[in-house]
């Protein structure tokens, strides 16, 4: 390794905006071989049969920790041994067996006041203010112990952990995570691997546009040659989808019991909502979603004749019967919101920067990339994360993105202008109003019309000015437009971040960020080399951990410097 890669030095600002591509020197980096992220370690037994690649005296544990789930397993296995959640049933006292009692799932737990929807199911929030970090630790400790004692059954051989975790995890949480992993498994080294890169690894690719539809956030990360080079995030993610779905179910439940308005007894629990989402939610295709309601009625084939699907929620007093077409509504309003137009209401809600609809999020991420990287990534789109399993979502996303590219080309000058601020202010209120509007629409539908007309009203069948068009209105007159490069898109399947970590550990690839137990426990994250912050600061003397085994043995700690890589703020 001649020089330190940008990967080490890149600074991630707290506001979660990435430096502009020019600072990242992507084009420059592309020309020279300088990315030591995936260098191999020096084990001499590398290439034996799959399970024999280990030094028998070491155990390789792979953990993926997200907001909702812990996935734990051993390297070289194709699935994690367990997926544990951090839900309320995991927070019970020892000896409290009520979750195993018959009828437990029929009881609906109500959300506590002041808690956001599903908050009791989260391990942590990215916003660490007002967060009891000790509680995070309690939850994590319990989950790690369960994973070990029930599924991994590790013995007292030395252990290494590959920890797959979001690259924007705040440092206090990272510190807690590391200390708990060291504590639970007595590992001597932990290798950190960013989620997006792990997803890329498990797709077989080296560069990809990773769309991770997580719980609290959807992140779109441009990975180029196993480096994160750009990232944008939106809060339109699984949690939002859950809330939209819960609203739909509450309205349907009220409808079924002949009530005007949904009350708290109609509100499904988080568990019920998730069950519903994973079982029945689906996503319309592009053509259907963008057809006016009248037309769509005509083109509706018999194949798509709307049928009712019965939904026996465990906590509901009765089985709901919901038109199949309605089951796609939550996905529509979460990921592909189309502004509603009603004369009595304010101009349609537009997305502020935290709430970009997915196609726009992808588009803007791509837009920030140099042309050659962009064209590479267009053929390598990966969808991962809990929210990505909705059937039809990936094809819809590709189609929407394609339409966006056709419409707008790759015009870098186009921006949101000063109107963006105004819109950002309005977005919060608008979102509430929109939710109310949807309820109204559905209630209207309930009053007499069929499910299909309900879909027409709230499902965005009409053609209001789309966000694209809105942006076009904001477009500055003097903007240049480039020649059209017809977008060609391809989605590639990834086996997910955990599997990426498994492969990574199995092939004995060394990570950039390796944390040594003794040093971490004695000095905490403070022992990480002061990250250079800006390119150029870190010289070759910082590199050794990436390429040598020096940092593994525990003998040379004094000499080596470890850094937090992209986790260092």
């Amino acid at each position: 390794m001649a020089s330190t890669p940008d990967y080490f030095n890149r600074k991630i600002s707290v506001g979660r905006t990435r430096p502009p591509p020019s600072q990242l020197q992507i084009s420059g980096a592309a020309a020279s071989p300088r990315t030591p992220l995936f260098t191999r370690s020096t084990s001499s037994q590398l290439y034996n049969s799959p399970s024999a690649t280990y030094r028998t005296d070491e155990e390789f544990i792979v953990l993926e920790v997200g907001t909702r789930f812990l996935r734990a397993g051993l390297a070289a296995e194709s699935s994690p041994r367990c997926v544990l959640n951090f839900g309320p049933d995991q927070q019970r006292r020892v000896g409290d067996y009520r979750q195993w009692m018959p009828g437990h799932e029929n009881k609906r737990r109500k959300r506590k006041r002041g808690e956001s929807w599903g908050q009791n199911h989260e391990l942590w929030r990215m916003d660490i203010r007002d967060q009891d970090t000790a509680l995070v630790e309690d939850k994590l400790d319990r989950a790690l112990r369960e994973a070990d004692q029930k599924y991994l059954l590790t013995d007292n051989r030395p252990k290494r952990i590959t920890l797959v975790v979001d690259s924007l995890l705040p440092r206090p949480l990272l510190s807690i995570l590391l200390s708990n992993c060291f504590h639970a498994f007595a590992a001597h080294t932990i290798t950190l691997l960013p989620t997006s890169i792990a997803s890329t690894v498990s797709s077989g690719l080296r560069s990809a546009l990773v769309v991770d539809i997580g719980w609290a956030e959807t992140s779109v990360t441009a990975v180029y040659e196993y480096k994160e080079i750009a990232q944008k995030r939106s809060t339109r993610a699984a949690k939002w989808l859950g809330e939209e779905t819960a609203t739909l179910l509450a309205v349907e439940s009220a409808k079924a019991s002949g009530k005007e308005k949904a009350d708290s007894t109609d509100e499904p629990s988080v568990e019920e909502t998730e069950e519903f989402v994973t079982r029945l939610c689906w996503c319309q295709d592009y053509a259907t979603a963008h057809t006016a309601p009248d037309e769509s009625k005509e083109i509706a084939e018999e194949d798509f004749e709307d049928i009712s699907v019965s939904v026996p929620l465990p906590g509901a007093s009765q089985t709901l019967s919901i038109p199949f077409s309605s089951l796609s509504k939550p996905v529509e309003s979460t990921f592909f919101p189309q502004p509603l137009i009603t004369p009595s209401r304010d101009p349609p809600a537009s997305a502020d920067d935290d709430e970009l609809p997915l196609p726009l999020l992808l588009y803007k991420t791509l837009l920030s990339l140099p042309v050659e990287v962009r064209s590479t990534l267009l053929l390598r789109i990966i969808l991962t994360g809990g929210g990505s399993h909705v059937p039809g979502l990936s094809s819809r996303l590709l189609s929407e993105l394609h339409a966006l590219i056709q419409n707008r080309e790759w015009d870098i000058v186009r921006n949101w202008g000063s109107a963006a601020e105004v819109m950002a202010q309005k977005a919060a209120q608008a979102r509430e109003r929109k939710a109310a509007a949807e309820k109204n629409a559905e209630r209207d539908a309930a009053a007499g019309s069929t499910g299909r007309s309900a879909e027409a009203e709230s499902g965005g069948m009409t053609m209001p000015p789309t966000i694209v068009e809105l942006e076009r209105q904001l477009e500055r007159p003097g903007s240049k437009s480039r020649p059209v490069t017809p977008g060609t898109l391809r989605a590639v399947e990834s086996m997910g971040p955990w599997v990426g970590g498994s492969i990574f550990a199995n092939l004995k690839i060394k990570g950039v960020v390796e944390v040594d137990r003794e040093r971490f426990l004695s000095q905490g994250l403070a022992s990480a080399g002061k990250e250079a912050g800006f390119a150029g600061h870190a010289g070759a003397e910082k590199v050794p951990l990436a390429g040598t085994r020096a940092s593994l043995g525990g003998k040379m700690e004094g000499k080596t410097v470890w850094t937090l890589g992209i986790w260092g703020e």
Binding site: Q91, S395, R490
Partner: protein
Amino acid sequence: MAQSFPYTYYRCPCVDTSTPTSAVAPPNLPSDPSSAPVEQDEEEGHTFDPLSPRANFSLFPLEHLLYCTECHEIRCPRCTMEEIISYYCPNCLFEAGSSSVKEHGNRCIRNCFNCPTCTAPLSVNAMEMERSNGSDTGSSASEQSHQYFLSCPYCNWSSLEIDMDFKSPQNIYHQFTKFYRSQPDLESKPSQVSPTEAMETPTQATTPVQQPPTPTAHPTDQEHYARLTAFLRTQISDTDTNSYNDINFSSPSSITRLMHLYNPSSKKAALQKPALMREAQKQNEGLVVQDLERDQKRIQEIRFRGWDGTISLSQRSQQQHPRNIHFDTDLRPVPTLLICKRSKRCRTCRSVLFRPESKPTSTRFKIKLLALEKIPRLSLRALNAATVPAALITSVPSSSPLITAAQGFDYNALKPLKPTLFLLTLSNPLEDPVKVTLATPGVSKTAAGVESKVTILCPQFEVGANTDVWDEALNPSTRDKEREREAKRRSALLTLSSGSAESMAEAQAGVRQAEAGKIWSSGRNWTSVIVEVVPNPTIDPSAKSRSSKGRGNEDDDVLEIPVFVRMEYEADAHGDGDARLDDSTSSARRRGEKEKLEEAFWCVFGVGRVVGL
């Protein structure tokens, strides 16, 4: 409530001292005051709040706790370390070797499977074959041929539903793993496609790229994984094996280098240089282009099959390979997870606290230092419903309103504003008498914010030693003591019953005066005191701001009382737990070599539910 009222939880103090982060040097966290934990430190003076979400992680039933006789402290699962002694299948009790455990992912490799829909153990059933299989096996047709399948005695799921049957009733696991291992193209080396032609020509998004038809349409998870790792492995081994430290296979100029690599003449040169890897480009290399048609088919299937055709989250989580499954036809039987026998050590001093015999069938222990044997057991009962010793009941006039009024006490309906008396009984497992001091915050709240006044009428008392029953009978001094206690108890009762014979309100006042500072009753190694609880419906305003005011949540109305227990006792000087087991202990004790010991901990009584607001 899983635990029926009233219940007692004990708090392990390790949360304050031995959390993983507290083991890390302090400067790791930015000192952001706003992110500081709510409970800063819980020294003895500080109140422990059983409502705090963290409390759930430090409270245990006494039976779940161990006790380290070296550290003289309670040990919970969190402050012990575990070591595996043996692995075995909970279903067939077969003990597994550790290498086999690793290889088979910690699953029973005999015939044990769990039902994918309801998790009950599956049974192996034989099915008579109608037609003769003789021609297939080459054996005579007279040989009876059977097919075997797994079925669930509980929910009637059968492996035949997913077309899974077995040739033999033995070694089902082996047959099971073969069932899904079909990787025809794995053995052949991944073809060396030149990078230039490898890139498939993508088409428009609206007509998404389809993988050219391959014999195996969509790879299973395991296939996908196997292909990709095989590909990456060959990539690594095709590149250099010596200079790995310099290997940099992530260079974008990989294409030219790769060309070198596949050109035999330049192989040597390639070995000298950092070698490079390319990405997977074909399905048999582990690249799977998303099949968007398949997605649309899935939507139709959901529409067609509805809720019942899809699998639940809990079923999914049981599956070994839960990715990409959606319908009940995707479910597979789950080989039974092995469990372990483990020994437990103290995390602080590493001494063994618990060691079972290794045989799966044995339930005996070599070492077992239960907290039960070292920590007094505290229990709470409503005064009337309490397991009042028979002697006590006879001594109280049957007309006593305290006894009759509350027959069949309902812990799930504590009335607000009505004082309720509870008996707090502390029984001493030690061979020494202990002095006990109880403290309670005075006001306990339910999650809904209903405050209750809690008064322990006699917070300081002594509890007798847990001596042998015969010892007690034979030893005149203890007998005397016992008699003395009995007398005290009677006099207390008399005061109480005479007080309560008058009007009810006066009775309560009388009870409080009469009982303050006096124990209610005591026995050989137990003492009971009275606790008065008055639920007060005034809602604490701070409860709202703490956002704990829920709307009819399951445990909102549960009243729990935290009590801080401090006990002092004198044990013999070399008072190790092991030494206690010796016969010499009692003699050592008599010699009077005593050592003052102290034990302090929080416990929480679940009293009941407050109603009638």
